[in-house]
Symmetry: C2
Subunit: 218 residues, 2 copies
Protein backbone atom coordinates (compact mmCIF):
# COMPACT_ATOMS: atom_id res chain seq x y z
CA UNK A 1 0.00 0.00 0.00
CA UNK A 2 1.26 3.44 -0.86
CA UNK A 3 0.16 6.97 0.05
CA UNK A 4 -0.10 9.02 -3.14
CA UNK A 5 1.97 12.15 -2.44
CA UNK A 6 -0.01 15.35 -1.93
CA UNK A 7 1.25 18.89 -2.44
CA UNK A 8 2.15 18.83 1.24
CA UNK A 9 3.85 15.45 1.50
CA UNK A 10 5.71 15.33 -1.81
CA UNK A 11 9.45 15.44 -1.09
CA UNK A 12 10.76 18.45 -3.03
CA UNK A 13 14.38 18.73 -1.94
CA UNK A 14 16.15 15.57 -3.16
CA UNK A 15 12.98 13.83 -4.38
CA UNK A 16 14.94 10.59 -4.80
CA UNK A 17 14.92 10.35 -1.01
CA UNK A 18 11.11 10.36 -0.85
CA UNK A 19 9.22 7.17 -0.06
CA UNK A 20 5.44 6.90 0.00
CA UNK A 21 5.18 3.23 0.85
CA UNK A 22 3.08 2.64 3.95
CA UNK A 23 5.24 -0.25 5.16
CA UNK A 24 8.28 2.07 5.09
CA UNK A 25 6.36 4.83 6.86
CA UNK A 26 4.93 2.46 9.48
CA UNK A 27 8.35 0.97 10.26
CA UNK A 28 9.82 4.42 10.99
CA UNK A 29 6.79 5.44 13.07
CA UNK A 30 7.00 2.21 15.08
CA UNK A 31 10.75 2.35 15.71
CA UNK A 32 10.81 5.93 17.04
CA UNK A 33 10.29 6.59 20.75
CA UNK A 34 8.83 10.06 20.25
CA UNK A 35 7.64 12.55 17.65
CA UNK A 36 7.42 16.32 17.28
CA UNK A 37 3.91 17.76 16.97
CA UNK A 38 3.51 21.07 15.16
CA UNK A 39 0.47 23.29 15.49
CA UNK A 40 -0.30 26.89 14.65
CA UNK A 41 -1.29 28.90 17.72
CA UNK A 42 -2.31 32.52 17.12
CA UNK A 43 -0.39 32.47 13.85
CA UNK A 44 2.83 31.19 15.42
CA UNK A 45 4.24 27.68 14.87
CA UNK A 46 4.58 25.66 18.08
CA UNK A 47 6.55 22.40 17.99
CA UNK A 48 6.64 20.11 21.01
CA UNK A 49 8.03 16.61 21.52
CA UNK A 50 5.75 13.87 22.75
CA UNK A 51 5.33 10.10 22.77
CA UNK A 52 3.43 8.68 19.81
CA UNK A 53 2.25 5.25 18.83
CA UNK A 54 0.38 3.62 15.96
CA UNK A 55 -2.61 1.33 15.65
CA UNK A 56 -3.24 0.36 12.04
CA UNK A 57 -3.82 3.51 10.00
CA UNK A 58 -3.96 5.85 12.99
CA UNK A 59 -1.20 7.69 14.79
CA UNK A 60 -1.94 8.53 18.44
CA UNK A 61 -0.56 11.15 20.80
CA UNK A 62 -1.80 11.96 24.27
CA UNK A 63 -1.40 14.37 27.11
CA UNK A 64 -3.15 16.04 29.97
CA UNK A 65 -6.75 16.96 29.28
CA UNK A 66 -5.70 20.59 29.81
CA UNK A 67 -2.66 20.38 27.49
CA UNK A 68 -2.67 23.61 25.44
CA UNK A 69 -1.01 22.16 22.35
CA UNK A 70 -3.45 19.26 22.13
CA UNK A 71 -6.34 21.69 22.58
CA UNK A 72 -4.96 23.82 19.76
CA UNK A 73 -4.42 20.70 17.66
CA UNK A 74 -8.03 19.54 17.80
CA UNK A 75 -9.26 23.06 17.12
CA UNK A 76 -7.38 23.55 13.84
CA UNK A 77 -7.87 21.78 10.49
CA UNK A 78 -4.33 20.40 10.11
CA UNK A 79 -1.46 19.48 12.38
CA UNK A 80 1.96 18.20 11.38
CA UNK A 81 3.62 15.28 13.14
CA UNK A 82 7.26 14.61 12.31
CA UNK A 83 9.28 11.59 13.35
CA UNK A 84 13.03 11.34 12.86
CA UNK A 85 15.56 8.54 13.32
CA UNK A 86 19.23 9.47 13.03
CA UNK A 87 21.37 6.68 11.56
CA UNK A 88 24.76 8.20 10.82
CA UNK A 89 27.09 11.17 10.51
CA UNK A 90 28.29 11.39 6.91
CA UNK A 91 31.81 12.88 6.81
CA UNK A 92 32.75 13.97 3.30
CA UNK A 93 36.07 15.19 1.93
CA UNK A 94 34.41 18.59 1.38
CA UNK A 95 32.59 20.52 4.09
CA UNK A 96 29.77 20.98 1.57
CA UNK A 97 28.96 17.28 1.18
CA UNK A 98 28.84 16.50 4.88
CA UNK A 99 25.43 15.08 5.66
CA UNK A 100 23.50 12.76 7.94
CA UNK A 101 21.91 9.41 7.33
CA UNK A 102 18.37 9.49 8.63
CA UNK A 103 14.86 8.17 8.22
CA UNK A 104 12.03 10.65 8.76
CA UNK A 105 8.26 10.72 8.38
CA UNK A 106 6.05 13.78 8.04
CA UNK A 107 2.31 13.42 8.62
CA UNK A 108 -0.30 16.08 7.87
CA UNK A 109 -3.84 15.62 9.04
CA UNK A 110 -6.69 16.61 11.29
CA UNK A 111 -6.33 15.85 14.99
CA UNK A 112 -9.42 14.20 16.41
CA UNK A 113 -10.09 14.01 20.14
CA UNK A 114 -10.97 10.42 21.04
CA UNK A 115 -13.73 10.28 23.62
CA UNK A 116 -14.93 6.70 23.22
CA UNK A 117 -13.99 4.74 26.33
CA UNK A 118 -13.28 1.50 24.48
CA UNK A 119 -11.02 3.17 21.92
CA UNK A 120 -9.17 4.93 24.73
CA UNK A 121 -8.61 1.68 26.62
CA UNK A 122 -7.45 -0.11 23.46
CA UNK A 123 -5.15 2.77 22.49
CA UNK A 124 -3.56 3.08 25.93
CA UNK A 125 -2.97 -0.67 26.06
CA UNK A 126 -1.22 -0.34 22.69
CA UNK A 127 0.84 2.55 24.04
CA UNK A 128 2.18 0.36 26.85
CA UNK A 129 3.17 -2.30 24.32
CA UNK A 130 4.85 0.28 22.09
CA UNK A 131 7.00 1.54 24.97
CA UNK A 132 8.10 -1.95 26.03
CA UNK A 133 6.68 -5.08 24.43
CA UNK A 134 5.04 -7.04 27.27
CA UNK A 135 4.57 -4.04 29.52
CA UNK A 136 0.78 -4.05 29.05
CA UNK A 137 0.61 -7.14 31.24
CA UNK A 138 2.79 -5.69 33.98
CA UNK A 139 1.08 -2.49 35.13
CA UNK A 140 -2.22 -1.29 36.53
CA UNK A 141 -4.59 -0.23 33.73
CA UNK A 142 -5.96 3.33 33.82
CA UNK A 143 -8.84 4.05 36.18
CA UNK A 144 -11.90 5.99 35.05
CA UNK A 145 -10.58 9.23 36.54
CA UNK A 146 -7.18 8.69 34.90
CA UNK A 147 -8.90 8.08 31.55
CA UNK A 148 -10.83 11.32 32.00
CA UNK A 149 -7.70 13.27 32.91
CA UNK A 150 -5.97 12.15 29.72
CA UNK A 151 -6.66 13.60 26.29
CA UNK A 152 -6.17 11.11 23.46
CA UNK A 153 -5.75 12.46 19.96
CA UNK A 154 -5.68 10.54 16.69
CA UNK A 155 -4.27 11.57 13.32
CA UNK A 156 -4.78 9.43 10.20
CA UNK A 157 -1.66 8.24 8.40
CA UNK A 158 -3.05 8.61 4.89
CA UNK A 159 -1.28 11.93 4.21
CA UNK A 160 2.26 10.99 5.15
CA UNK A 161 5.60 10.56 3.46
CA UNK A 162 9.00 9.27 4.41
CA UNK A 163 12.38 10.75 3.52
CA UNK A 164 15.46 8.61 3.82
CA UNK A 165 19.17 9.17 3.33
CA UNK A 166 21.29 6.05 3.65
CA UNK A 167 24.47 4.61 2.31
CA UNK A 168 27.92 6.03 1.82
CA UNK A 169 29.36 9.52 1.45
CA UNK A 170 28.89 11.27 -1.92
CA UNK A 171 31.85 13.52 -2.70
CA UNK A 172 32.52 15.37 -5.95
CA UNK A 173 34.84 13.48 -8.32
CA UNK A 174 37.34 16.35 -8.13
CA UNK A 175 37.61 15.91 -4.33
CA UNK A 176 38.32 12.18 -4.31
CA UNK A 177 42.08 12.53 -4.07
CA UNK A 178 42.02 14.96 -1.14
CA UNK A 179 43.87 13.60 1.91
CA UNK A 180 40.83 13.77 4.22
CA UNK A 181 39.20 10.82 5.98
CA UNK A 182 35.75 10.17 4.50
CA UNK A 183 33.07 7.77 5.59
CA UNK A 184 30.08 7.27 7.82
CA UNK A 185 29.94 7.20 11.63
CA UNK A 186 26.90 5.11 12.64
CA UNK A 187 24.52 6.63 15.18
CA UNK A 188 22.32 4.38 17.29
CA UNK A 189 19.77 4.87 20.03
CA UNK A 190 20.21 2.14 22.62
CA UNK A 191 18.63 1.09 25.90
CA UNK A 192 20.78 0.65 29.00
CA UNK A 193 20.54 -1.54 32.08
CA UNK A 194 17.14 -1.03 33.80
CA UNK A 195 17.36 0.79 37.15
CA UNK A 196 14.74 -0.51 39.58
CA UNK A 197 12.88 2.05 41.71
CA UNK A 198 14.35 2.49 45.19
CA UNK A 199 11.22 1.02 46.80
CA UNK A 200 11.47 -2.25 44.86
CA UNK A 201 12.51 -5.16 47.15
CA UNK A 202 16.27 -5.63 46.83
CA UNK A 203 17.16 -8.55 44.62
CA UNK A 204 14.08 -8.02 42.41
CA UNK A 205 14.97 -9.37 38.99
CA UNK A 206 14.32 -7.51 35.77
CA UNK A 207 11.26 -9.25 34.26
CA UNK A 208 11.92 -11.48 31.23
CA UNK A 209 9.90 -9.32 28.79
CA UNK A 210 11.87 -6.22 29.81
CA UNK A 211 15.23 -8.03 29.63
CA UNK A 212 14.35 -9.22 26.10
CA UNK A 213 13.30 -5.70 25.06
CA UNK A 214 16.49 -4.13 26.37
CA UNK A 215 18.61 -6.85 24.73
CA UNK A 216 16.90 -6.22 21.38
CA UNK A 217 17.68 -2.48 21.62
CA UNK A 218 21.40 -2.66 22.34
Amino acid sequence: MSNPPTSRTRVRRRPERGDYDRATIDAIVDEAHYCHVGVVHEGVPVVLPTIHWRLGDQLYVHGSAVNAVLKTAVGTPTICVTITLLDGLVLARSAFHHSMNYRSVVVFGPATLVEDREEKLTAFAALMESVVSGRGGDCRPPSDSELEATALVRVPLNEASAKIRGGPVADDASDMTLPHWAGVVPVKTVLGEPLAAAEMPSGTEVPAYLRAWVDSHK
Copy 2:
Protein backbone atom coordinates in the same frame (compact mmCIF):
# COMPACT_ATOMS: atom_id res chain seq x y z
CA MET B 1 22.37 34.35 32.54
CA SER B 2 18.73 33.49 32.25
CA ASN B 3 16.06 34.07 29.61
CA PRO B 4 13.01 35.61 31.29
CA PRO B 5 10.09 33.40 30.20
CA THR B 6 7.71 34.94 27.69
CA SER B 7 4.08 33.99 27.11
CA ARG B 8 5.40 31.63 24.45
CA THR B 9 8.30 30.01 26.30
CA ARG B 10 6.81 29.70 29.78
CA VAL B 11 6.38 26.01 30.58
CA ARG B 12 2.69 25.60 31.43
CA ARG B 13 2.27 21.85 31.82
CA ARG B 14 4.36 20.78 34.81
CA PRO B 15 6.00 24.20 35.34
CA GLU B 16 8.46 22.62 37.79
CA ARG B 17 10.13 21.05 34.76
CA GLY B 18 10.82 24.45 33.16
CA ASP B 19 14.34 25.87 33.11
CA TYR B 20 15.22 29.28 31.71
CA ASP B 21 18.93 29.22 32.44
CA ARG B 22 21.01 29.84 29.33
CA ALA B 23 23.73 27.40 30.38
CA THR B 24 21.11 24.64 30.64
CA ILE B 25 19.59 25.62 27.29
CA ASP B 26 22.98 25.83 25.56
CA ALA B 27 24.07 22.42 26.86
CA ILE B 28 20.96 20.74 25.39
CA VAL B 29 21.34 22.62 22.08
CA ASP B 30 25.01 21.63 21.85
CA GLU B 31 24.51 17.95 22.71
CA ALA B 32 21.76 17.31 20.16
CA HIS B 33 22.66 16.22 16.63
CA TYR B 34 19.55 17.71 15.03
CA CYS B 35 16.49 19.85 15.67
CA HIS B 36 12.96 20.17 14.33
CA VAL B 37 12.12 23.47 12.63
CA GLY B 38 8.49 24.55 12.59
CA VAL B 39 7.10 27.14 10.21
CA VAL B 40 3.62 28.16 9.10
CA HIS B 41 3.14 27.74 5.36
CA GLU B 42 -0.22 28.89 3.95
CA GLY B 43 -1.75 28.51 7.40
CA VAL B 44 -0.51 24.94 7.88
CA PRO B 45 2.24 23.93 10.33
CA VAL B 46 5.25 22.30 8.68
CA VAL B 47 7.86 20.58 10.87
CA LEU B 48 11.09 19.26 9.37
CA PRO B 49 14.23 17.83 10.93
CA THR B 50 17.58 19.42 10.19
CA ILE B 51 21.07 19.84 11.59
CA HIS B 52 21.54 22.83 13.89
CA TRP B 53 24.46 24.34 15.68
CA ARG B 54 25.15 27.26 18.00
CA LEU B 55 27.61 30.13 18.07
CA GLY B 56 27.20 32.23 21.22
CA ASP B 57 23.66 33.57 21.34
CA GLN B 58 22.69 32.41 17.85
CA LEU B 59 21.26 29.14 16.65
CA TYR B 60 22.02 28.28 13.03
CA VAL B 61 20.33 26.00 10.51
CA HIS B 62 21.14 25.67 6.85
CA GLY B 63 19.97 24.09 3.65
CA SER B 64 19.83 24.47 -0.08
CA ALA B 65 19.33 28.03 -1.28
CA VAL B 66 16.06 26.81 -2.83
CA ASN B 67 14.86 25.03 0.33
CA ALA B 68 11.14 25.84 0.68
CA VAL B 69 10.99 25.64 4.47
CA LEU B 70 13.95 27.99 4.93
CA LYS B 71 12.38 30.41 2.43
CA THR B 72 9.14 30.28 4.39
CA ALA B 73 11.09 30.71 7.64
CA VAL B 74 12.78 33.94 6.62
CA GLY B 75 9.53 35.31 5.23
CA THR B 76 7.51 34.95 8.45
CA PRO B 77 7.90 36.83 11.75
CA THR B 78 8.44 33.78 14.00
CA ILE B 79 9.66 30.24 13.62
CA CYS B 80 9.89 27.57 16.30
CA VAL B 81 12.95 25.36 16.70
CA THR B 82 12.63 22.40 19.06
CA ILE B 83 15.45 20.17 20.25
CA THR B 84 14.86 16.97 22.20
CA LEU B 85 17.16 14.51 23.95
CA LEU B 86 15.60 11.30 25.22
CA ASP B 87 17.22 10.00 28.42
CA GLY B 88 15.00 7.22 29.69
CA LEU B 89 11.80 5.19 29.61
CA VAL B 90 10.01 5.60 32.94
CA LEU B 91 8.05 2.44 33.76
CA ALA B 92 5.57 3.05 36.55
CA ARG B 93 3.38 0.60 38.45
CA SER B 94 0.36 2.28 36.82
CA ALA B 95 -0.06 2.77 33.09
CA PHE B 96 -0.99 6.37 33.89
CA HIS B 97 2.35 7.32 35.44
CA HIS B 98 4.51 5.90 32.67
CA SER B 99 6.67 8.68 31.31
CA MET B 100 9.96 9.49 29.67
CA ASN B 101 13.03 11.24 30.98
CA TYR B 102 14.05 13.90 28.52
CA ARG B 103 15.67 17.29 28.05
CA SER B 104 14.10 19.60 25.48
CA VAL B 105 14.50 23.18 24.31
CA VAL B 106 11.96 25.29 22.46
CA VAL B 107 13.12 28.46 20.71
CA PHE B 108 10.85 31.11 19.20
CA GLY B 109 12.29 33.84 17.08
CA PRO B 110 12.72 35.49 13.72
CA ALA B 111 14.77 33.62 11.12
CA THR B 112 17.32 35.86 9.45
CA LEU B 113 19.03 34.92 6.20
CA VAL B 114 22.78 35.37 6.63
CA GLU B 115 24.36 36.82 3.50
CA ASP B 116 27.65 38.12 4.87
CA ARG B 117 30.47 35.98 3.50
CA GLU B 118 32.60 36.15 6.64
CA GLU B 119 29.72 35.14 8.93
CA LYS B 120 28.91 32.26 6.58
CA LEU B 121 32.50 31.01 6.60
CA THR B 122 32.71 31.30 10.39
CA ALA B 123 29.35 29.58 10.86
CA PHE B 124 30.12 26.69 8.51
CA ALA B 125 33.48 26.14 10.21
CA ALA B 126 31.60 25.96 13.52
CA LEU B 127 29.16 23.48 11.97
CA MET B 128 32.01 21.11 11.10
CA GLU B 129 33.28 21.32 14.68
CA SER B 130 29.81 20.68 16.09
CA VAL B 131 29.41 17.51 14.01
CA VAL B 132 32.82 16.11 15.03
CA SER B 133 35.29 18.11 17.11
CA GLY B 134 38.42 18.44 14.97
CA ARG B 135 36.64 17.88 11.67
CA GLY B 136 37.10 21.52 10.60
CA GLY B 137 40.78 20.82 10.03
CA ASP B 138 40.17 17.66 8.00
CA CYS B 139 37.97 18.69 5.07
CA ARG B 140 37.96 21.09 2.14
CA PRO B 141 36.30 24.41 3.10
CA PRO B 142 33.35 25.58 1.00
CA SER B 143 34.04 27.20 -2.36
CA ASP B 144 32.35 30.43 -3.42
CA SER B 145 29.77 28.58 -5.47
CA GLU B 146 29.08 26.18 -2.59
CA LEU B 147 28.62 29.15 -0.25
CA GLU B 148 26.18 30.67 -2.71
CA ALA B 149 24.24 27.43 -3.09
CA THR B 150 23.74 27.20 0.68
CA ALA B 151 21.21 29.23 2.63
CA LEU B 152 22.30 29.99 6.18
CA VAL B 153 19.66 31.06 8.67
CA ARG B 154 20.14 32.37 12.18
CA VAL B 155 17.68 32.49 15.07
CA PRO B 156 18.52 34.28 18.34
CA LEU B 157 18.39 32.21 21.51
CA ASN B 158 16.94 34.94 23.72
CA GLU B 159 13.37 33.57 23.57
CA ALA B 160 14.00 29.98 24.56
CA SER B 161 13.19 27.66 27.40
CA ALA B 162 14.17 24.17 28.45
CA LYS B 163 11.92 21.47 29.88
CA ILE B 164 13.48 18.58 31.71
CA ARG B 165 12.18 15.41 33.33
CA GLY B 166 14.79 13.39 35.15
CA GLY B 167 15.06 11.06 38.09
CA PRO B 168 12.99 8.14 39.24
CA VAL B 169 9.45 6.95 38.63
CA ALA B 170 6.65 8.76 40.50
CA ASP B 171 3.81 6.39 41.34
CA ASP B 172 0.78 7.11 43.47
CA ALA B 173 1.20 6.03 47.10
CA SER B 174 -1.74 3.64 46.70
CA ASP B 175 0.07 1.81 43.88
CA MET B 176 3.34 1.20 45.68
CA THR B 177 2.50 -2.31 46.78
CA LEU B 178 1.42 -3.53 43.36
CA PRO B 179 3.52 -6.45 42.13
CA HIS B 180 4.77 -4.68 38.98
CA TRP B 181 8.38 -3.90 38.14
CA ALA B 182 8.97 -0.14 38.30
CA GLY B 183 12.01 1.86 37.37
CA VAL B 184 13.82 3.65 34.60
CA VAL B 185 15.37 2.19 31.45
CA PRO B 186 18.15 4.55 30.33
CA VAL B 187 18.15 5.63 26.66
CA LYS B 188 21.36 6.76 25.03
CA THR B 189 22.38 7.93 21.58
CA VAL B 190 25.79 6.49 20.77
CA LEU B 191 28.27 6.56 17.90
CA GLY B 192 29.50 3.32 16.36
CA GLU B 193 32.73 2.27 14.66
CA PRO B 194 33.48 4.63 11.71
CA LEU B 195 33.08 3.02 8.28
CA ALA B 196 35.63 4.40 5.82
CA ALA B 197 34.43 5.17 2.28
CA ALA B 198 35.12 2.38 -0.21
CA GLU B 199 37.62 4.55 -2.13
CA MET B 200 39.78 5.18 0.95
CA PRO B 201 43.13 3.33 0.69
CA SER B 202 42.83 0.06 2.58
CA GLY B 203 44.49 0.21 5.97
CA THR B 204 43.65 3.91 6.38
CA GLU B 205 43.42 4.55 10.10
CA VAL B 206 40.59 6.45 11.74
CA PRO B 207 42.09 9.90 12.53
CA ALA B 208 42.85 10.58 16.19
CA TYR B 209 40.28 13.41 16.53
CA LEU B 210 37.54 11.15 15.16
CA ARG B 211 38.55 8.22 17.35
CA ALA B 212 38.42 10.50 20.40
CA TRP B 213 34.99 11.85 19.39
CA VAL B 214 33.55 8.38 18.88
CA ASP B 215 35.04 7.17 22.17
CA SER B 216 33.47 10.10 24.01
CA HIS B 217 30.03 9.26 22.54
CA LYS B 218 29.86 5.57 23.45
